[in-house]
Symmetry: C2
Subunit: 190 residues, 2 copies
């Protein structure tokens, strides 16, 4: 009996994610979303409920895709090579709407108001860090790095370096690839 939607929901979420990623929470109006998604307000709210609900879905997709890309990298090249390649990969993608991390952007923008989306961004960052820690841990078991380090500390520092790199990559006149290279080389000293 029903009529099927005109749009592919997954594609809509991806487009919304890119817009939010680029422009942030307050920087993205419903008019912007309507234009990019080619939806009128009524359809938009029927499909997603609210701007905040869509942002949450979009951010979840962002985190999921990022974790997936890292997992693929590990699958293909092992933990060490994956962590060495990841920084460059994070800033080189031409199709990405921004160099900086959507999670950190969201955290910095909304943290002060205690916004739920900031808490969720924070949780996703912690999830990434656990993924990093697991890789460092595995590298220790494989004897690739010294067993004296605390995997969680290594992950914390790696995450921090990554966040710094991706803020730097947003600046003009900065050779972020050089920083990415240095982060990768830093892993050799472990």
């Amino acid at each position: 009996m029903p009529r099927k939607p005109n749009h592919d929901r997954n594609e809509l979420i991806a487009r919304a994610r890119d817009l939010f990623w680029r422009q942030g929470w307050a920087g993205t109006s419903l008019k912007d979303l309507e234009a990019v998604l080619k939806m009128k307000p009524g359809s938009f709210y029927a499909a997603f409920g609210s701007k905040e609900a869509l942002f949450e879905i979009a951010m979840d997709k962002y985190a999921e895709d990022g974790a997936g890309r890292l997992a693929e990298l590990v699958e293909a090249h092992g933990p060490m090579a994956a962590l060495k390649r990841y920084p460059e990969l994070a800033i080189c993608r031409e199709e990405a709407p921004a160099k900086a991390c959507m999670l950190s952007k969201t955290l910095l923008e909304l943290q002060a108001h205690g916004h739920p989306l900031a808490k969720r961004a924070s949780a996703h960052l912690m999830g990434m860090e656990e993924q990093f820690a697991a890789l460092f841990s595995q590298m220790q078991q494989d004897g690739e790095i010294a067993a004296t380090h605390d995997p969680k500390s290594l992950a914390r520092r790696y995450q921090s370096d990554l966040l710094g790199l991706r803020v730097s990559a947003e600046r003009e006149g900065i050779d972020a690839h050089a920083i990415a290279r240095e982060i990768a080389e830093g892993l050799d000293r472990l």
Copy 2:
């Protein structure tokens, strides 16, 4: 003939800077500013012209004060010790309205819209980096670090580490002091 202003302009700018620093550009409404500055709209616009103009002044003050604190540190302890202490100092101040850097927050929030304030934040970041580069350069002349490094590259990396640290410090459940310590220790390897 004239009546003198009720408020100290410098103090007003400091309070505005703290509010903008914490809440960002879009996150700070004129109502917020009126409350913190205890000014009605008329006075506000007579004194500062616009929200954007005040933000610019506030950000300039932020950059100036930051540069001043580093200069004092250098004066007191020399370049190496200053750069080793600066990361911890950047995140430990209790009275600071946020751990993250106001310049990076502004850059990330407004860059996508090509906002003039983002360009100005970027310029200030570059100014900081030049200050760092000058210190690394001086350390080479003093024989404190190897002469083989490029001071500008060192400064770029140090700045990136600092930005990452200060984003990390904004997260909950992260021991940022440990990261600050690691950044300081990293300078020993030069």
